[in-house]
Subunit: 192 residues, 3 copies
Amino acid sequence: MRHDVTAPLPVPPVAGCRRKRVLWLRDPRVPDTRTTTSGRRVMASMLDDCSLLALVTILSVLEQAYFSLQVIYARRKFHVSPPRVSGNEDFERVYRAQTNSTEYFSMFLGVLWIAGIFFSQGLAVCVGILYLCGRYKYFKGYAESAVKRLSPLYFSAKMLWILIAMASVGVLNQLSSQYLGYNPMMAVKSIL
Amino acid sequence: MRHDVTAPLPVPPVAGCRRKRVLWLRDPRVPDTRTTTSGRRVMASMLDDCSLLALVTILSVLEQAYFSLQVIYARRKFHVSPPRVSGNEDFERVYRAQTNSTEYFSMFLGVLWIAGIFFSQGLAVCVGILYLCGRYKYFKGYAESAVKRLSPLYFSAKMLWILIAMASVGVLNQLSSQYLGYNPMMAVKSIL
Amino acid sequence: MRHDVTAPLPVPPVAGCRRKRVLWLRDPRVPDTRTTTSGRRVMASMLDDCSLLALVTILSVLEQAYFSLQVIYARRKFHVSPPRVSGNEDFERVYRAQTNSTEYFSMFLGVLWIAGIFFSQGLAVCVGILYLCGRYKYFKGYAESAVKRLSPLYFSAKMLWILIAMASVGVLNQLSSQYLGYNPMMAVKSIL
Protein backbone atom coordinates (compact mmCIF):
# COMPACT_ATOMS: atom_id res chain seq x y z
CA MET A 1 0.00 0.00 0.00
CA ARG A 2 2.39 2.69 -1.17
CA HIS A 3 1.24 6.26 -1.55
CA ASP A 4 1.91 8.57 -4.42
CA VAL A 5 4.22 11.22 -3.04
CA THR A 6 2.32 13.98 -4.82
CA ALA A 7 -1.10 12.78 -3.62
CA PRO A 8 -2.96 15.07 -1.20
CA LEU A 9 -3.41 13.96 2.40
CA PRO A 10 -6.62 11.89 2.83
CA VAL A 11 -9.57 13.97 4.03
CA PRO A 12 -9.74 13.87 7.86
CA PRO A 13 -12.80 12.19 9.43
CA VAL A 14 -15.48 14.61 10.59
CA ALA A 15 -17.32 12.97 13.52
CA GLY A 16 -17.49 10.11 16.00
CA CYS A 17 -13.86 9.41 16.74
CA ARG A 18 -14.01 9.66 20.53
CA ARG A 19 -13.79 6.00 21.52
CA LYS A 20 -11.08 5.25 19.05
CA ARG A 21 -9.03 8.00 20.63
CA VAL A 22 -8.78 6.03 23.87
CA LEU A 23 -7.54 3.04 21.92
CA TRP A 24 -5.08 4.80 19.71
CA LEU A 25 -3.68 7.91 21.27
CA ARG A 26 -1.01 7.19 23.84
CA ASP A 27 -0.93 9.30 27.00
CA PRO A 28 2.63 10.66 26.89
CA ARG A 29 2.97 10.26 30.68
CA VAL A 30 2.55 6.51 30.45
CA PRO A 31 5.56 4.44 29.28
CA ASP A 32 5.15 3.32 25.69
CA THR A 33 4.56 -0.38 26.28
CA ARG A 34 3.91 -0.98 22.62
CA THR A 35 7.39 0.17 21.69
CA THR A 36 8.87 -1.83 24.56
CA THR A 37 7.00 -4.90 23.41
CA SER A 38 8.19 -4.29 19.89
CA GLY A 39 11.73 -3.87 21.23
CA ARG A 40 11.49 -7.16 23.11
CA ARG A 41 10.04 -8.79 20.03
CA VAL A 42 12.96 -7.52 17.95
CA MET A 43 15.47 -8.80 20.50
CA ALA A 44 13.66 -12.13 20.81
CA SER A 45 13.70 -12.47 17.05
CA MET A 46 17.44 -11.75 17.07
CA LEU A 47 18.05 -14.46 19.66
CA ASP A 48 16.03 -16.74 17.37
CA ASP A 49 18.35 -15.78 14.53
CA CYS A 50 21.46 -16.89 16.41
CA SER A 51 20.37 -19.58 18.87
CA LEU A 52 21.65 -22.39 16.63
CA LEU A 53 24.91 -20.53 16.05
CA ALA A 54 25.25 -20.28 19.84
CA LEU A 55 24.59 -24.02 20.15
CA VAL A 56 27.33 -24.85 17.62
CA THR A 57 29.67 -22.46 19.46
CA ILE A 58 29.07 -24.31 22.73
CA LEU A 59 29.67 -27.65 20.96
CA SER A 60 32.92 -26.33 19.50
CA VAL A 61 34.05 -25.10 22.96
CA LEU A 62 33.25 -28.57 24.39
CA GLU A 63 35.30 -30.15 21.59
CA GLN A 64 38.26 -27.85 22.35
CA ALA A 65 37.93 -28.67 26.07
CA TYR A 66 37.99 -32.37 25.16
CA PHE A 67 41.16 -31.89 23.10
CA SER A 68 42.80 -30.06 26.02
CA LEU A 69 41.94 -32.89 28.40
CA GLN A 70 43.41 -35.43 25.94
CA VAL A 71 46.71 -33.50 26.01
CA ILE A 72 46.72 -33.71 29.82
CA TYR A 73 46.09 -37.50 29.66
CA ALA A 74 48.83 -37.84 27.00
CA ARG A 75 51.25 -35.98 29.30
CA ARG A 76 50.63 -38.59 32.00
CA LYS A 77 50.67 -41.57 29.64
CA PHE A 78 53.92 -40.63 27.87
CA HIS A 79 55.59 -39.07 30.94
CA VAL A 80 56.04 -35.59 29.47
CA SER A 81 55.83 -33.20 32.42
CA PRO A 82 55.11 -29.47 31.93
CA PRO A 83 56.47 -27.12 30.71
CA ARG A 84 58.08 -29.56 28.22
CA VAL A 85 56.14 -30.15 24.99
CA SER A 86 58.64 -32.33 23.15
CA GLY A 87 60.78 -35.44 23.64
CA ASN A 88 58.15 -38.10 22.90
CA GLU A 89 56.70 -38.23 19.40
CA ASP A 90 53.44 -39.88 20.49
CA PHE A 91 52.81 -36.99 22.86
CA GLU A 92 53.95 -34.44 20.28
CA ARG A 93 51.32 -35.62 17.80
CA VAL A 94 48.50 -35.27 20.33
CA TYR A 95 49.86 -31.87 21.36
CA ARG A 96 50.19 -30.66 17.75
CA ALA A 97 46.64 -31.86 16.98
CA GLN A 98 45.29 -29.75 19.83
CA THR A 99 47.46 -26.72 18.97
CA ASN A 100 46.43 -26.83 15.32
CA SER A 101 42.74 -27.05 16.26
CA THR A 102 43.19 -24.08 18.57
CA GLU A 103 44.84 -22.04 15.80
CA TYR A 104 41.79 -22.57 13.59
CA PHE A 105 39.25 -22.17 16.39
CA SER A 106 39.01 -18.35 16.33
CA MET A 107 38.88 -18.31 12.52
CA PHE A 108 36.11 -20.90 12.62
CA LEU A 109 34.02 -18.97 15.19
CA GLY A 110 34.48 -15.71 13.28
CA VAL A 111 33.29 -16.98 9.90
CA LEU A 112 30.62 -19.25 11.43
CA TRP A 113 28.85 -16.26 12.98
CA ILE A 114 29.29 -13.96 9.98
CA ALA A 115 28.05 -16.65 7.58
CA GLY A 116 25.14 -17.38 9.93
CA ILE A 117 24.08 -13.76 10.35
CA PHE A 118 24.74 -12.35 6.86
CA PHE A 119 24.05 -15.45 4.74
CA SER A 120 22.00 -18.24 6.34
CA GLN A 121 21.93 -19.56 9.90
CA GLY A 122 20.76 -23.02 8.80
CA LEU A 123 23.50 -23.56 6.21
CA ALA A 124 26.22 -22.10 8.45
CA VAL A 125 25.18 -24.42 11.29
CA CYS A 126 25.23 -27.52 9.02
CA VAL A 127 28.68 -26.73 7.62
CA GLY A 128 29.88 -25.81 11.12
CA ILE A 129 28.85 -29.21 12.50
CA LEU A 130 30.60 -30.97 9.60
CA TYR A 131 33.72 -28.92 10.40
CA LEU A 132 33.58 -30.04 14.05
CA CYS A 133 33.20 -33.69 12.97
CA GLY A 134 36.20 -33.28 10.65
CA ARG A 135 38.22 -31.78 13.50
CA TYR A 136 37.33 -34.70 15.78
CA LYS A 137 38.47 -37.24 13.16
CA TYR A 138 41.61 -35.17 12.57
CA PHE A 139 42.46 -35.26 16.27
CA LYS A 140 41.85 -39.01 16.55
CA GLY A 141 43.80 -39.67 13.35
CA TYR A 142 46.77 -37.48 14.29
CA ALA A 143 46.98 -39.16 17.73
CA GLU A 144 47.58 -42.47 15.88
CA SER A 145 49.94 -41.30 13.12
CA ALA A 146 50.90 -38.17 11.19
CA VAL A 147 49.54 -39.63 7.93
CA LYS A 148 46.05 -40.34 9.32
CA ARG A 149 45.58 -36.64 10.06
CA LEU A 150 45.62 -35.68 6.39
CA SER A 151 42.23 -36.62 4.94
CA PRO A 152 40.12 -35.18 7.83
CA LEU A 153 42.40 -32.11 7.76
CA TYR A 154 41.57 -31.53 4.10
CA PHE A 155 37.88 -32.13 4.82
CA SER A 156 37.71 -29.60 7.66
CA ALA A 157 39.72 -27.11 5.59
CA LYS A 158 37.11 -27.45 2.83
CA MET A 159 34.31 -26.82 5.33
CA LEU A 160 36.14 -23.72 6.55
CA TRP A 161 36.48 -22.44 2.98
CA ILE A 162 32.74 -22.99 2.42
CA LEU A 163 32.03 -20.94 5.56
CA ILE A 164 34.43 -18.22 4.34
CA ALA A 165 32.65 -18.20 0.95
CA MET A 166 29.20 -17.97 2.57
CA ALA A 167 30.37 -15.19 4.89
CA SER A 168 31.91 -13.28 1.96
CA VAL A 169 28.80 -13.56 -0.22
CA GLY A 170 26.61 -12.47 2.69
CA VAL A 171 28.73 -9.46 3.61
CA LEU A 172 29.29 -8.33 0.01
CA ASN A 173 25.53 -8.62 -0.58
CA GLN A 174 24.89 -6.51 2.54
CA LEU A 175 27.45 -3.89 1.45
CA SER A 176 25.93 -3.80 -2.05
CA SER A 177 22.38 -3.27 -0.78
CA GLN A 178 23.67 -0.74 1.78
CA TYR A 179 25.86 1.43 -0.45
CA LEU A 180 24.61 0.68 -3.99
CA GLY A 181 20.96 0.08 -3.14
CA TYR A 182 21.06 -3.25 -4.97
CA ASN A 183 20.55 -6.58 -3.17
CA PRO A 184 21.91 -9.42 -5.39
CA MET A 185 20.74 -12.24 -3.07
CA MET A 186 17.18 -10.87 -3.09
CA ALA A 187 17.34 -10.57 -6.90
CA VAL A 188 18.47 -14.20 -7.26
CA LYS A 189 15.72 -15.38 -4.89
CA SER A 190 13.04 -13.53 -6.88
CA ILE A 191 14.23 -15.19 -10.12
CA LEU A 192 14.17 -18.72 -8.62
CA MET B 1 7.40 17.61 23.25
CA ARG B 2 7.72 16.47 26.90
CA HIS B 3 4.72 16.68 29.18
CA ASP B 4 4.59 17.74 32.82
CA VAL B 5 3.72 14.61 34.79
CA THR B 6 1.28 16.52 36.97
CA ALA B 7 -0.56 18.02 34.00
CA PRO B 8 -4.14 16.80 33.47
CA LEU B 9 -4.88 14.52 30.56
CA PRO B 10 -5.67 16.57 27.48
CA VAL B 11 -9.42 17.01 27.07
CA PRO B 12 -10.60 14.58 24.43
CA PRO B 13 -11.94 16.30 21.34
CA VAL B 14 -15.72 16.21 21.02
CA ALA B 15 -16.07 16.69 17.33
CA GLY B 16 -14.07 17.18 14.22
CA CYS B 17 -11.03 14.93 14.53
CA ARG B 18 -8.89 17.07 12.30
CA ARG B 19 -6.24 18.02 14.84
CA LYS B 20 -5.88 14.49 16.18
CA ARG B 21 -5.43 13.22 12.70
CA VAL B 22 -2.30 15.26 12.37
CA LEU B 23 -1.06 13.57 15.50
CA TRP B 24 -2.00 10.02 14.61
CA LEU B 25 -1.89 9.31 10.97
CA ARG B 26 1.57 9.38 9.52
CA ASP B 27 1.97 11.14 6.21
CA PRO B 28 3.66 8.44 4.13
CA ARG B 29 5.82 11.07 2.46
CA VAL B 30 7.51 11.88 5.78
CA PRO B 31 10.10 9.45 7.23
CA ASP B 32 8.70 7.43 10.10
CA THR B 33 10.61 9.02 13.00
CA ARG B 34 8.70 6.94 15.57
CA THR B 35 10.05 3.71 14.12
CA THR B 36 13.51 5.19 13.97
CA THR B 37 13.30 6.23 17.60
CA SER B 38 12.05 2.77 18.51
CA GLY B 39 14.95 1.30 16.52
CA ARG B 40 17.44 3.44 18.42
CA ARG B 41 15.80 2.50 21.69
CA VAL B 42 16.09 -1.19 20.80
CA MET B 43 19.75 -0.79 19.89
CA ALA B 44 20.48 1.28 23.01
CA SER B 45 18.84 -1.41 25.12
CA MET B 46 20.99 -4.03 23.40
CA LEU B 47 24.16 -2.08 24.16
CA ASP B 48 22.92 -1.96 27.79
CA ASP B 49 22.55 -5.73 27.67
CA CYS B 50 26.19 -6.28 26.70
CA SER B 51 28.16 -3.29 28.02
CA LEU B 52 29.48 -5.25 31.02
CA LEU B 53 30.36 -8.20 28.78
CA ALA B 54 32.32 -5.76 26.62
CA LEU B 55 34.09 -4.41 29.71
CA VAL B 56 35.15 -7.93 30.80
CA THR B 57 36.30 -8.61 27.22
CA ILE B 58 38.53 -5.52 27.30
CA LEU B 59 39.91 -6.59 30.71
CA SER B 60 40.66 -10.07 29.33
CA VAL B 61 42.43 -8.58 26.30
CA LEU B 62 44.51 -6.40 28.65
CA GLU B 63 45.38 -9.50 30.68
CA GLN B 64 46.48 -11.35 27.53
CA ALA B 65 48.54 -8.32 26.46
CA TYR B 66 50.17 -8.33 29.91
CA PHE B 67 51.03 -12.05 29.54
CA SER B 68 52.57 -11.37 26.11
CA LEU B 69 54.72 -8.58 27.52
CA GLN B 70 55.89 -10.88 30.33
CA VAL B 71 57.09 -13.39 27.70
CA ILE B 72 59.10 -10.61 26.00
CA TYR B 73 60.67 -9.62 29.36
CA ALA B 74 61.41 -13.31 30.11
CA ARG B 75 63.14 -13.63 26.72
CA ARG B 76 65.49 -10.78 27.70
CA LYS B 77 66.01 -11.98 31.28
CA PHE B 78 66.81 -15.60 30.39
CA HIS B 79 68.57 -14.78 27.08
CA VAL B 80 66.23 -16.79 24.83
CA SER B 81 66.23 -14.97 21.50
CA PRO B 82 63.44 -15.51 18.92
CA PRO B 83 62.43 -17.73 17.19
CA ARG B 84 63.65 -20.14 19.92
CA VAL B 85 61.08 -21.06 22.59
CA SER B 86 63.07 -23.67 24.51
CA GLY B 87 66.47 -24.17 26.14
CA ASN B 88 65.81 -22.47 29.48
CA GLU B 89 63.18 -23.97 31.77
CA ASP B 90 62.44 -20.71 33.57
CA PHE B 91 61.58 -19.11 30.24
CA GLU B 92 59.67 -22.19 29.09
CA ARG B 93 57.34 -22.00 32.08
CA VAL B 94 56.48 -18.34 31.41
CA TYR B 95 56.03 -19.12 27.73
CA ARG B 96 53.80 -22.15 28.42
CA ALA B 97 51.70 -20.12 30.87
CA GLN B 98 51.03 -17.54 28.16
CA THR B 99 50.38 -20.17 25.43
CA ASN B 100 47.96 -22.08 27.65
CA SER B 101 46.06 -18.88 28.51
CA THR B 102 45.86 -18.05 24.80
CA GLU B 103 44.47 -21.52 24.00
CA TYR B 104 41.64 -20.95 26.47
CA PHE B 105 41.08 -17.31 25.55
CA SER B 106 38.76 -17.89 22.54
CA MET B 107 36.80 -20.53 24.43
CA PHE B 108 36.42 -18.13 27.33
CA LEU B 109 35.21 -15.23 25.14
CA GLY B 110 32.77 -17.49 23.26
CA VAL B 111 31.01 -18.89 26.34
CA LEU B 112 31.22 -15.59 28.26
CA TRP B 113 29.14 -13.83 25.61
CA ILE B 114 26.68 -16.68 25.07
CA ALA B 115 26.16 -17.09 28.83
CA GLY B 116 25.75 -13.31 29.16
CA ILE B 117 23.25 -12.95 26.34
CA PHE B 118 21.20 -16.16 26.70
CA PHE B 119 21.41 -16.65 30.48
CA SER B 120 22.35 -13.62 32.61
CA GLN B 121 24.79 -10.79 31.95
CA GLY B 122 25.37 -10.16 35.67
CA LEU B 123 26.25 -13.76 36.54
CA ALA B 124 28.37 -14.25 33.41
CA VAL B 125 30.34 -11.10 34.21
CA CYS B 126 30.97 -12.19 37.84
CA VAL B 127 32.17 -15.68 36.83
CA GLY B 128 34.18 -14.14 33.99
CA ILE B 129 36.05 -11.84 36.38
CA LEU B 130 36.78 -14.78 38.71
CA TYR B 131 38.13 -16.67 35.68
CA LEU B 132 40.46 -13.78 34.84
CA CYS B 133 41.69 -13.62 38.46
CA GLY B 134 42.34 -17.38 38.35
CA ARG B 135 44.28 -16.96 35.10
CA TYR B 136 46.41 -14.21 36.63
CA LYS B 137 47.30 -16.39 39.64
CA TYR B 138 47.97 -19.31 37.27
CA PHE B 139 50.42 -17.21 35.27
CA LYS B 140 52.22 -15.90 38.35
CA GLY B 141 52.34 -19.40 39.88
CA TYR B 142 53.58 -21.13 36.71
CA ALA B 143 56.32 -18.49 36.33
CA GLU B 144 57.65 -19.62 39.75
CA SER B 145 57.25 -23.39 39.44
CA ALA B 146 55.21 -25.99 37.55
CA VAL B 147 53.50 -27.15 40.77
CA LYS B 148 52.23 -23.69 41.73
CA ARG B 149 50.23 -23.50 38.49
CA LEU B 150 47.92 -26.34 39.51
CA SER B 151 45.45 -24.92 42.02
CA PRO B 152 44.66 -21.70 40.07
CA LEU B 153 44.45 -23.85 36.92
CA TYR B 154 41.77 -26.02 38.51
CA PHE B 155 39.97 -22.90 39.77
CA SER B 156 39.86 -21.21 36.37
CA ALA B 157 38.81 -24.50 34.73
CA LYS B 158 35.87 -24.65 37.18
CA MET B 159 34.88 -21.07 36.29
CA LEU B 160 35.00 -22.01 32.60
CA TRP B 161 32.76 -25.03 33.22
CA ILE B 162 30.29 -22.82 35.09
CA LEU B 163 30.21 -20.44 32.09
CA ILE B 164 29.72 -23.42 29.74
CA ALA B 165 26.85 -24.66 31.94
CA MET B 166 25.20 -21.22 32.02
CA ALA B 167 25.58 -20.84 28.26
CA SER B 168 24.13 -24.32 27.66
CA VAL B 169 21.12 -23.75 29.93
CA GLY B 170 20.46 -20.37 28.29
CA VAL B 171 20.69 -21.69 24.73
CA LEU B 172 18.68 -24.86 25.41
CA ASN B 173 16.01 -22.69 27.09
CA GLN B 174 15.96 -20.41 24.05
CA LEU B 175 15.69 -23.38 21.64
CA SER B 176 12.90 -24.89 23.75
CA SER B 177 10.84 -21.69 23.78
CA GLN B 178 11.58 -21.18 20.08
CA TYR B 179 10.74 -24.64 18.73
CA LEU B 180 8.58 -26.22 21.47
CA GLY B 181 6.88 -23.02 22.65
CA TYR B 182 7.89 -23.82 26.25
CA ASN B 183 10.25 -21.58 28.24
CA PRO B 184 11.66 -23.57 31.22
CA MET B 185 13.56 -20.61 32.73
CA MET B 186 10.40 -18.47 32.72
CA ALA B 187 8.47 -21.38 34.31
CA VAL B 188 11.07 -21.75 37.10
CA LYS B 189 11.01 -17.98 37.74
CA SER B 190 7.21 -17.96 38.02
CA ILE B 191 7.33 -20.79 40.62
CA LEU B 192 9.96 -19.02 42.77
CA MET C 1 -6.74 -10.06 24.21
CA ARG C 2 -6.50 -13.06 21.91
CA HIS C 3 -9.19 -13.57 19.29
CA ASP C 4 -10.76 -16.79 18.13
CA VAL C 5 -9.42 -17.33 14.64
CA THR C 6 -12.84 -18.45 13.40
CA ALA C 7 -14.62 -15.35 14.74
CA PRO C 8 -15.97 -12.94 12.15
CA LEU C 9 -14.22 -9.64 11.67
CA PRO C 10 -15.57 -7.00 14.11
CA VAL C 11 -18.34 -4.93 12.57
CA PRO C 12 -16.88 -1.72 11.23
CA PRO C 13 -18.07 1.53 12.82
CA VAL C 14 -21.12 2.96 11.14
CA ALA C 15 -20.24 6.52 10.41
CA GLY C 16 -17.36 8.63 9.37
CA CYS C 17 -14.57 6.28 10.34
CA ARG C 18 -15.12 3.30 8.08
CA ARG C 19 -12.27 3.83 5.68
CA LYS C 20 -9.86 4.89 8.38
CA ARG C 21 -10.61 1.78 10.40
CA VAL C 22 -9.41 -0.40 7.60
CA LEU C 23 -6.24 1.64 7.41
CA TRP C 24 -5.50 2.05 11.09
CA LEU C 25 -6.94 -0.66 13.26
CA ARG C 26 -5.11 -3.93 12.92
CA ASP C 27 -7.13 -7.15 12.74
CA PRO C 28 -5.50 -9.20 15.54
CA ARG C 29 -5.79 -12.37 13.45
CA VAL C 30 -3.46 -10.93 10.84
CA PRO C 31 0.28 -10.85 11.62
CA ASP C 32 1.42 -7.37 12.62
CA THR C 33 3.37 -6.48 9.51
CA ARG C 34 4.13 -3.01 10.83
CA THR C 35 6.00 -4.35 13.85
CA THR C 36 7.68 -6.95 11.68
CA THR C 37 8.76 -4.27 9.26
CA SER C 38 10.03 -2.17 12.14
CA GLY C 39 11.84 -5.23 13.51
CA ARG C 40 13.39 -5.92 10.13
CA ARG C 41 14.33 -2.27 9.83
CA VAL C 42 16.03 -2.39 13.25
CA MET C 43 17.88 -5.57 12.31
CA ALA C 44 18.80 -4.19 8.90
CA SER C 45 20.17 -1.06 10.56
CA MET C 46 22.20 -3.26 12.91
CA LEU C 47 23.65 -5.20 9.98
CA ASP C 48 24.53 -1.78 8.48
CA ASP C 49 26.32 -0.94 11.73
CA CYS C 50 28.58 -3.98 11.54
CA SER C 51 28.90 -4.90 7.85
CA LEU C 52 32.35 -3.27 7.56
CA LEU C 53 33.48 -4.95 10.79
CA ALA C 54 32.36 -8.25 9.27
CA LEU C 55 34.34 -7.47 6.11
CA VAL C 56 37.52 -6.76 8.10
CA THR C 57 36.92 -9.98 10.07
CA ILE C 58 36.75 -11.98 6.82
CA LEU C 59 39.95 -10.28 5.60
CA SER C 60 41.69 -11.14 8.87
CA VAL C 61 40.57 -14.78 8.59
CA LEU C 62 41.91 -14.88 5.03
CA GLU C 63 45.22 -13.47 6.28
CA GLN C 64 45.42 -16.12 9.00
CA ALA C 65 44.61 -18.81 6.43
CA TYR C 66 47.42 -17.44 4.23
CA PHE C 67 49.88 -17.61 7.17
CA SER C 68 48.84 -21.22 7.85
CA LEU C 69 49.44 -22.17 4.21
CA GLN C 70 52.88 -20.53 4.34
CA VAL C 71 53.77 -22.77 7.31
CA ILE C 72 52.75 -25.83 5.27
CA TYR C 73 54.92 -24.66 2.33
CA ALA C 74 57.81 -23.95 4.72
CA ARG C 75 57.49 -27.50 6.13
CA ARG C 76 57.98 -28.88 2.61
CA LYS C 77 60.74 -26.45 1.66
CA PHE C 78 62.85 -26.97 4.79
CA HIS C 79 61.95 -30.67 5.22
CA VAL C 80 60.39 -30.35 8.67
CA SER C 81 57.73 -33.06 8.83
CA PRO C 82 54.88 -32.95 11.41
CA PRO C 83 54.60 -33.12 14.35
CA ARG C 84 58.08 -31.55 14.62
CA VAL C 85 58.18 -27.74 14.83
CA SER C 86 61.90 -27.24 15.40
CA GLY C 87 65.27 -28.28 13.96
CA ASN C 88 65.52 -25.72 11.15
CA GLU C 89 65.73 -22.06 12.06
CA ASP C 90 64.30 -20.84 8.74
CA PHE C 91 61.21 -22.94 9.34
CA GLU C 92 61.05 -21.93 13.00
CA ARG C 93 60.86 -18.24 12.10
CA VAL C 94 57.93 -18.80 9.71
CA TYR C 95 56.24 -21.00 12.30
CA ARG C 96 56.75 -18.48 15.11
CA ALA C 97 55.42 -15.67 12.90
CA GLN C 98 52.21 -17.62 12.35
CA THR C 99 51.90 -18.67 16.01
CA ASN C 100 52.42 -15.11 17.23
CA SER C 101 49.78 -13.79 14.78
CA THR C 102 47.37 -16.46 15.99
CA GLU C 103 47.97 -15.48 19.64
CA TYR C 104 46.96 -11.90 18.85
CA PHE C 105 44.11 -12.84 16.51
CA SER C 106 41.40 -13.34 19.17
CA MET C 107 42.47 -10.20 21.00
CA PHE C 108 42.31 -8.28 17.73
CA LEU C 109 38.83 -9.55 16.81
CA GLY C 110 37.53 -8.86 20.32
CA VAL C 111 38.62 -5.22 20.50
CA LEU C 112 37.88 -4.57 16.80
CA TRP C 113 34.19 -5.38 17.31
CA ILE C 114 33.86 -3.62 20.66
CA ALA C 115 35.59 -0.49 19.31
CA GLY C 116 33.38 -0.66 16.17
CA ILE C 117 30.11 -1.07 18.05
CA PHE C 118 30.69 1.14 21.11
CA PHE C 119 32.96 3.80 19.59
CA SER C 120 32.95 4.16 15.79
CA GLN C 121 32.70 1.54 13.04
CA GLY C 122 34.58 3.70 10.53
CA LEU C 123 37.59 4.38 12.78
CA ALA C 124 37.76 0.79 14.05
CA VAL C 125 37.74 -0.51 10.47
CA CYS C 126 40.55 1.86 9.40
CA VAL C 127 42.77 0.96 12.37
CA GLY C 128 41.88 -2.71 11.89
CA ILE C 129 43.05 -2.67 8.25
CA LEU C 130 46.31 -0.96 9.28
CA TYR C 131 46.77 -3.70 11.89
CA LEU C 132 46.31 -6.39 9.24
CA CYS C 133 48.86 -4.65 6.95
CA GLY C 134 51.30 -4.49 9.86
CA ARG C 135 50.77 -8.19 10.53
CA TYR C 136 51.45 -9.02 6.87
CA LYS C 137 54.72 -7.08 6.90
CA TYR C 138 55.62 -8.70 10.23
CA PHE C 139 55.11 -12.17 8.74
CA LYS C 140 57.13 -11.38 5.61
CA GLY C 141 59.89 -9.74 7.67
CA TYR C 142 60.12 -12.55 10.25
CA ALA C 143 60.32 -15.14 7.44
CA GLU C 144 63.52 -13.38 6.28
CA SER C 145 65.19 -12.65 9.62
CA ALA C 146 64.32 -12.17 13.30
CA VAL C 147 65.41 -8.51 13.19
CA LYS C 148 63.10 -7.60 10.27
CA ARG C 149 60.07 -8.60 12.34
CA LEU C 150 60.59 -5.81 14.86
CA SER C 151 59.39 -2.59 13.23
CA PRO C 152 56.10 -4.03 11.80
CA LEU C 153 55.59 -5.79 15.17
CA TYR C 154 55.77 -2.45 16.98
CA PHE C 155 53.46 -0.88 14.39
CA SER C 156 50.77 -3.55 14.71
CA ALA C 157 51.09 -3.45 18.52
CA LYS C 158 50.41 0.32 18.34
CA MET C 159 47.33 -0.29 16.19
CA LEU C 160 46.10 -2.86 18.71
CA TRP C 161 46.58 -0.36 21.56
CA ILE C 162 44.61 2.25 19.59
CA LEU C 163 41.78 -0.27 19.17
CA ILE C 164 41.93 -1.10 22.90
CA ALA C 165 41.77 2.64 23.73
CA MET C 166 38.80 3.19 21.39
CA ALA C 167 37.00 0.16 22.81
CA SER C 168 37.65 1.34 26.38
CA VAL C 169 36.43 4.88 25.73
CA GLY C 170 33.31 3.55 23.99
CA VAL C 171 32.43 1.07 26.74
CA LEU C 172 33.15 3.48 29.61
CA ASN C 173 31.01 6.10 27.84
CA GLN C 174 28.20 3.53 27.50
CA LEU C 175 28.47 2.53 31.18
CA SER C 176 28.48 6.20 32.22
CA SER C 177 25.35 7.02 30.23
CA GLN C 178 23.72 3.78 31.42
CA TYR C 179 24.43 4.00 35.15
CA LEU C 180 25.18 7.70 35.75
CA GLY C 181 22.86 9.12 33.10
CA TYR C 182 25.73 11.17 31.65
CA ASN C 183 27.07 10.58 28.13
CA PRO C 184 30.58 12.16 27.86
CA MET C 185 30.98 11.42 24.12
CA MET C 186 27.68 13.16 23.36
CA ALA C 187 28.75 16.12 25.54
CA VAL C 188 32.08 16.44 23.67
CA LYS C 189 30.27 16.25 20.31
CA SER C 190 27.84 19.00 21.32
CA ILE C 191 30.77 21.29 22.31
CA LEU C 192 32.63 20.76 19.01
